[in-house]
């Protein structure tokens, strides 16, 4: 009876994983499909990968996407880390005001955030690459803060006080005592920010200037004419690189973790 229940449980998980990953499988297979018809299989090819690498437009969009993701995540992490240090010290009233405003970009509709940013930026400067960057940093900061702030709550403040009592300055104590405790939150926040920036379409669509394209806006522009298979190739490549990166990061950090984590 218990075995049957376990089987159904695993079956349920498998079905949902299939639902989440089936479209991704379709895209990966399409990137190697020599037939341009989207459903029929016409044989294996690497032609789209070759075309992708030779197209300066595609490479330009890829560069924009990556620079935006890494750049906005970097700035958001710095601003978000400083913000978390300060917010953690705030009194209840200030805390709840600041956190309510911080929640706005996450809970607000993307389309409203995008339009609001566009209306503001358009007043002061022409829309272009930097306006997308400003928008991405803005919607990334809350994800960073929400990943770092709980770490401060879990941290034992007395270790910091001990370091100060033993003569370390506030900056040294921060880097030597506090930072190692919150670094997992910083890494998670940075990664989450990069993911959100990569995946964003709506906010980029409204804040971008003419002629500037990211992967998302380029794909959106192709919908009516029909998607170029190079897009499948490019996305598959990004996906593969991400998985490789994640595996590498896990292999590096796992031995340390398993020593520290108590088994449940």
């Amino acid at each position: 009876m218990v075995k049957l229940k376990d089987f159904f449980c695993k079956f349920y998980v498998a079905i949902i994983m299939l639902f989440l990953y089936a479209p991704i499988m379709v895209l990966i297979v399409s990137s190697f499909n020599s037939s341009k018809s989207r459903v029929l299989w016409g044989g294996f090819t690497l032609e789209w990968y070759q075309q992708m690498l030779n197209s300066s437009i595609v490479i330009g969009a890829l560069r924009n996407t990556v620079v935006l993701a890494v750049g906005s995540a970097f700035f958001a992490t710095i601003i978000g880390l400083l913000a978390s240090i300060g917010i953690d010290a705030m009194r209840k009233k200030e805390f709840s005001i600041v956190m309510s405003i911080t929640n706005i970009p996450m809970l607000n509709a993307d389309i409203v955030t995008g339009i609001a940013m566009m209306l503001l930026i358009f007043r002061f400067m022409p829309l272009g690459f930097s306006s997308i960057m400003l928008a991405h940093i803005t919607f990334n900061i809350p994800y960073v803060i929400l990943n770092i702030l709980p770490r401060f709550n879990q941290m034992d403040i007395s270790t910091y006080e001990a370091a100060r009592d033993l003569g370390a300055g506030p900056v040294t104590s921060f880097f030597k005592v506090v930072l190692p405790d919150i670094i997992p939150g910083i890494v998670a926040g940075f990664f989450m920010a990069m993911t959100m920036s990569m995946d964003d379409f709506v906010i980029t669509y409204f804040t971008k200037g003419a002629g500037v394209n990211t992967l998302s806006t380029m794909i959106y522009g192709q919908i009516k004419k029909g998607i170029q298979p190079t897009m499948y190739a490019l996305s598959t490549m990004i996906f593969a690189v991400t998985i490789l990166l994640l595996i590498t990061i896990n292999l590096i950090t796992l031995p340390k973790k398993s020593g520290k984590n108590k088994p449940r």
């Binding site: 449980c9 349920y12 998980v13 949902i16 994983m17 639902f19 989440l20 089936a22 479209p23 991704i24 379709v26 601003i79 400083l82 913000a83 240090i85 300060g86 917010i87 953690d88 010290a89 705030m90 209840k92 200030e94 709840s96 600041v98 309510s100 405003i101 911080t102 809970l107 607000n108 509709a109 993307d110 389309i111 409203v112 339009i115 609001a116 209306l119 503001l120 007043r123 928008a135 940093i137 803005t138 900061i141 929400l146 709980p150 989450m192 993911t195 959100m196 990569m198 995946d199 379409f201 992967l215 998302s216 794909i219 919908i223 998607i227 996305s235 990004i238 996906f239 991400t242 998985i243």
Partner: protein
């Protein structure tokens, strides 16, 4: 120097890029093109033209949210039960799809669901009747569930995993059956996750315009499509801002609802 002043750069950023843009939306929403004050842009949401899109959007988002909840809550319980408690791995599995471009993923869903698509090919091979859901509201709901399900799973999974096994054991020792345990122990303890999941799914659903564009065949207009067209095609920014402002009011109502149910005040986290 007081520690809280370290947050100053963020506070400035927050005011400039979160608060001020919303003031701009309000400004455009309540003015005409010539600059005079008006309420008609915001109340345009009740026009016969827009009310249809609004009601349809609300209906589809509600269905999507309920479906996500019905899938995600049992999944969280199942994940807890089969001891897949490597939290990091589950989170990565759920976030990983976002690294495949979201528009492409919706297009892939279209390839699967279309009339001569992969799903129907499989059904034909199994000698089953084909399904025709592409370009219907059902396809849009399916696309929304597909896109936003991780946002429902993650917070619920987090709060379900945080439940102390001792509490569940104690209730079953005291004679509570599964249904009773679910209603009186597990459900109340996972409420913060459920509430946060609902907001994380409902609001994006309400305003998405890419999913109805692709899976609805361009025939089905939702609130997001109407706003997008006002800005991009009709270039009527005031009307677009007015409709966005009305949308913002929906969001704020949702937020008040969430804040009221926030049990632990310093632990309002999304993931």
């Amino acid at each position: 120097m007081k520690r809280k002043y370290i947050a100053l750069p963020y506070l400035i950023w927050m005011t400039a890029f979160i608060v001020l843009p919303l003031v701009f939306v309000a400004y455009y929403a309540f003015t005409t093109k010539a600059g005079g004050f008006t309420l008609s842009n915001v109340f345009a949401i009740f026009d016969s033209l827009h009310i249809k899109a609004t009601i349809l959007s609300l209906g589809l988002s509600l269905s999507c949210t309920v479906l996500c909840l019905l899938v995600a809550f049992p999944l969280a319980l199942v994940l807890r039960r089969i001891h897949l408690n490597h939290k990091g791995l589950i989170i990565i599995i759920l976030i990983l799809p976002m690294w495949m471009n979201s528009i492409l993923r919706i297009l892939a869903l279209q390839m699967i669901l279309s009339k001569n698509g992969i799903l129907n090919m499989i059904l034909e091979w199994l000698h089953l009747a084909p399904v025709e859901i592409i370009n219907t509201p059902a396809a849009i709901i399916l696309g929304m569930v597909y896109d936003y399900l991780p946002y429902m799973i993650l917070p619920i999974y987090n709060s379900v995993m945080d439940i102390d096994q001792d509490l569940i054991d104690a209730s079953s020792d005291l004679g509570a059956r599964f249904g009773y345990r679910l209603r009186h122990v597990i459900l109340p303890l996972s409420k913060p996750g459920i509430i946060s999941g609902i907001t994380m799914v409902f609001i994006p659903c309400l305003t998405s315009f890419v999913i109805p564009d692709i899976l609805g065949g361009g025939k089905i207009q939702l609130l997001g499509n109407v706003i997008e067209q006002e800005f991009i095609t009709s270039m009527n920014w005031n009307l677009g801002a007015g409709l966005s402002f009305a949308l913002l009011i929906f969001v704020i109502i949702g937020l008040i609802f969430t804040q009221k149910h926030e049990t632990k005040y310093k632990e309002s986290r999304v993931w």
